[in-house]
Subunit: 128 residues, 4 copies
DNA sequence: GTGGTCTAGACCACG
DNA sequence: GTGGTCTAGACCACG
């Protein structure tokens, strides 16, 4: 079953977490084309956050063409198209990796430990 | 020679970029224990940013125990002590990993591709 | 009710006074887990100082893990986790004790007098 | 024997450490009235600090009437007089204690642990 | 309304 | 010359 989980108090804003997790769910096949998203109010009350926050996340997904709004029925997953060129995707990935590796080394973790933690994170994502 | 480069207009704040790059330089051995950091004012004028922004970055490095400030002399790389508990270090690593994995998946990268990129990053760091 | 009071013109910086008083309030139970801190702007205008000064104080409390910032909502007292290693905690305590003892001796107080005053301070904290 | 020890990288400036330790030595009887202080240059080279820093510390002691300069011979301990009223001394002590106790509690130390550390600090001072 | 980042600039302490 | 603190004020992101 598809569940969104957020953490508060960290640096990542709630709406970003919602966006990222829905994208991940689509990319991972947990949400298929045509599937409905949870309702804005339902999800907001479940996560105990402001409905505006969920609405903002969904709007951002609509703007990116990942989901569409059907008047009065809710939000649904659309065909997800790759937007960036391969080169651009790689550049963005490398840009994100560099600070992570620096942080991990600062915290005293080695290459293999970091990778083990990343595999755990992936496992957690697909299990959900 | 050790140079810091920043990009403005993106979502990563300037002070964060400075922190990340100095951490990378230390992790990669470009900056060794006892080495001075560029002076706050010098770096600020070189990067054309406000000295307060650099001061904020340096303070954050001091809080993590990787550099220290010597009254009236400047900032220096310290002998790296582990100051956080194992639990806290793990919490921080997970907090950093979660958004990265979400971003990678959003960009269409799978687990193995991400890990390959991370290994490349480690290799690049130690080669230099 | 919880009030912060500062003095200017002394050697203790304003942001330090704010940090110390909030710590005392938490240590003494005046502020409990989950309680909000005064808003940055609200406290700044109440104390007639710049909001940046309060923000600096609050950031320092976040770094020590005693409060957390919730995006767009404010700062809240967290469940207190021990984030530093035993060695680091001891190092910090010694660093704080050394100047205190020097000051006490300079003021003409002996070991037992100082300790009596410290016990009084603890008693005052828990009584409130 | 009388030895001054300083730590760099902390928040307490070097000249303050020198001043405090000399005052403590006098208060503790390690330095008696008429005893000479180490020479400015000698102490500076021993501590590997700028001679101006030592000169500044000694000037501050002269200004407070704790030591006196004898032209061409050096600095000597004079009769130390209490400057503050009892009430003022106590007020200053309490002012210093409050943040220490808050810090100790934040770090997870209890009353007895803090006091044990303070006794250790006193022991270290008199042994030296 | 809440915090987060940044600039421009001042004044001071320390070495 | 070096960092440390603080002000005044702007603009933006988040909820």
């Amino acid at each position: 079953m598809f569940r969104i989980q957020i953490t508060t108090g960290g640096k990542v804003p709630i709406y970003r977490q919602v966006v990222d997790q829905i994208r991940s769910a689509i990319a991972g096949g947990v949400l298929a084309v045509g599937d409905p998203l949870p309702s804005v109010r339902g999800l907001a009350s479940e996560l105990v956050v402001n409905p505006n926050t969920i609405a903002k996340a969904y709007s951002s997904l609509v703007a990116d063409g990942v989901v569409e709004s059907q008047q009065g029925r809710g939000y649904f997953v659309t065909q997800h198209r790759q937007i960036y060129t391969k080169r651009e995707r790689k550049r963005r990935l490398e840009e994100t990796i560099a600070p992570l590796v620096a942080e991990a080394v600062t915290l005293g973790f080695g290459e293999d430990e970091l990778i083990a933690e990343i595999r755990k994170r992936f496992a957690k994502m697909t299990n959900r």
